[in-house]
């Protein structure tokens, strides 16, 4: 078999001649010398297809995935069970190859599943309108902040320190060129410090961003937060939620949240090395014209049959240009479909079961872990699927010991929260068996 070669030396020579330069290196002259590799890549000149396949397979075996590890890691990405129907439907070629609709109305199938996804997100969050999705949980927070600034004509954003640190980072990046004044609200015993929040919310505040369950897994007192925020006439409350938790928790809509956002990875999307994931955003009717991104609506065609259209497009940049609500003109196509299939496959009852079993598992793990006193709870608040403990041993040492036993340990909190230097955040989903949890505890007990 002849090996695949992109460009022969002759091809390269001809192309260089055509553009009038004498070396490929010249094309990289804009890249500073000190950041260049300055040597050839360490690759063998040529391998047969069979050799390369064997080589790559061996290489891939070095990767550890949740298929060969027991996962107790969370902190924003979760190992929930994915029903196999999700894979079978999303991998159908009609769906798999369809990107966000540009020739929209000709793609009725795509519009229909996006409309169904939007409807499911509305039902889940208790809001009126959801868009066709955003990139991920972090950018969804940033887009919600844009919305709040746009609606209130203010630029101060308050964000709780219990919001995922990566999301706060994304918010800062997005907010930089919008001249946002981003103020972080302190945390006390793992939840947003309400006294501090009360002092910080003023008539300059566009929105307050909280997360519930928050980064530590704890359920925030949204009712109290909502009262503080809406004491200011215009200020909006943005809440990032774990969609699985909504199987048992009150909807953010019923608690008076103005903009609900979140990471949808838990809804039938595999961990896939950190992305692509799925951001969702939902609002009430009053704010729908400020929503970013694509929005699918239901209508009737010329024969009176149900049909779908992209709607309220005047918000978007192909019409509104620089005045658009956002520069996003895409959505998370196949992940949106996965979330829709997941939610439909489980149904209201199924999602509730997942949420209940997740809670039971995490609380069992928590009780067992703190039993001997070697690991102490970091906080004393109601939590959903994650909890934090601390000990006198460094998290890296603990996680190395766990990895030796094929267990993927928790998230070391010290990097983002120096005050919790030895703190570890464990996530326990419905997938974990009692035996797996018991093994985690016994390995942990053996370390100290």
């Amino acid at each position: 078999m002849y090996p695949y070669i992109q460009n022969t030396p002759d091809d390269v020579k001809k192309m260089l001649e055509a553009i009038g330069i004498d070396s490929v290196d010249y094309l990289f002259s804009d890249i500073p010398e000190n950041v260049r590799l300055n040597r050839e890549l360490d690759l063998k000149p040529s391998m047969s297809e069979m050799e390369i396949e064997r080589y790559m397979t061996d290489l891939s075996k070095k990767n550890m995935t949740i298929n060969n590890l027991t996962c107790f890691l969370g902190a924003g990405a979760y190992d929930h069970y994915i029903p196999s129907v999700v894979k079978h439907i999303t991998s159908r070629s009609e769906f798999y190859t369809s990107y966000t609709p540009y020739q929209a109305e000709i793609s009725q199938g795509t519009l229909q599943y996006i409309f169904e996804y939007q409807t499911l997100i509305c039902n889940l969050t208790g809001m009126d309108v959801a868009n066709a999705s955003l990139y991920d949980g972090g950018t969804a927070i940033a887009e919600a902040a844009f919305m709040s600034a746009n609606i209130t004509r203010r630029n101060q954003i308050l964000v709780s320190k219990t919001v995922n640190p990566q999301y706060r980072q994304v918010l800062k990046t997005y907010g930089h060129l919008h001249n946002f004044e981003i103020i972080e609200v302190g945390e006390e015993d793992g939840v947003t410090n309400l006294d501090e929040l009360k002092k910080l919310v003023t008539d300059k505040t566009a929105s307050v961003i909280v997360q519930s369950p928050n980064f530590f897994g704890i359920i925030e007192d949204l009712k109290a937060i909502e009262e503080i925020v809406h004491n200011q006439k215009k200020t909006l409350l943005i809440t990032s939620v774990d969609p699985i938790s909504l199987g048992i928790l009150k909807t953010p809509g019923s608690l008076g949240v103005d903009i609900v956002v979140g990471e949808g990875q838990s809804l039938g999307i595999s961990l896939q090395y950190g992305g692509p994931y799925l951001g969702f955003i939902a609002v009430n009717k009053a704010h729908m014209r400020k929503l970013p991104g694509r929005l699918v609506g239901q209508t009737v065609d010329i024969n009176g049959e149900r049909a779908f259209v992209l709607t309220l497009q005047a918000r978007e940049q192909h019409i509104r240009r620089e005045k658009a609500t956002s520069n996003i003109c895409s959505n998370q196509g196949v992940n949106t479909l996965a979330a829709a299939v997941y939610l439909v496959a489980l149904g209201k009852k199924g999602l509730r079961e997942v949420a209940i079993r997740t809670t039971q598992n995490s609380h069992y793990a928590y009780r067992e872990m703190i039993k001997s006193g070697k690991y102490k709870p970091l906080f004393h608040k109601p939590f959903f699927k994650e909890f934090a403990v601390t000990s006198n041993i460094e998290p890296d040492a603990i996680n190395k010991k766990l990895l030796d036993e094929n267990i993927l340990g928790g998230y070391a909190l010290g990097k983002d929260y120096p005050q919790y230097k030895n703190g570890i955040l464990y996530a326990v989903t419905e997938k974990r068996t009692k035996a797996e949890i018991d093994k985690l505890i016994s390995v942990l007990e053996g370390i100290i």
Binding site: R153, R289, A314, R315, I319, R320, K323
Partner: protein
């Protein structure tokens, strides 16, 4: 295209009817005709303050959206809420159906606006 006497006009096709220290602001007949069927009007809130040329409202038709700009500096004293339910009032009678009523901050700015004759001439050029 209908143009009323006694109103001030802007290059962005807003009109302004002065009553003492206050003024009503709306869209001209030319503007509503160019936009086509108006389906949504976004209104500011009472007491919002704007500078001349700030966008204080947005008007959306089936395939276009356009901002409405302040002809002069001022503070919103009243908004025409009937436009929220019936945005097409702007198509039906753009001069009767004002968008906002403002308190003018500096009446000398009125001199920078066009008279009806000047606006008529301006329309011939655009």
């Amino acid at each position: 295209m209908k143009i009323l006497k006694d109103l001030y006009y802007t290059k962005d096709h807003e009109w302004l009817r002065v009553e003492g220290d206050e003024a009503y602001i709306g869209l001209t007949d030319y503007a509503q005709d160019s936009l086509g069927d108006i389906v949504y009007v976004e209104l500011p809130e009472v007491d919002d303050e704007f500078n001349k040329e700030d966008a204080f409202s947005a008007v959306e038709s089936v395939k276009a959206a356009s901002d409405v700009y302040m002809p002069v500096d001022g503070r919103i004293v009243e908004v025409n809420e009937s436009l929220l339910d019936e945005p097409n009032l702007l198509n039906e009678d753009p001069y009767k159906n004002w968008i906002v009523k403002i308190e003018i901050a500096d009446k000398s700015q009125l001199e920078e606006l066009m008279t009806s004759d000047e606006y008529e001439q301006y329309l011939e050029e655009v």
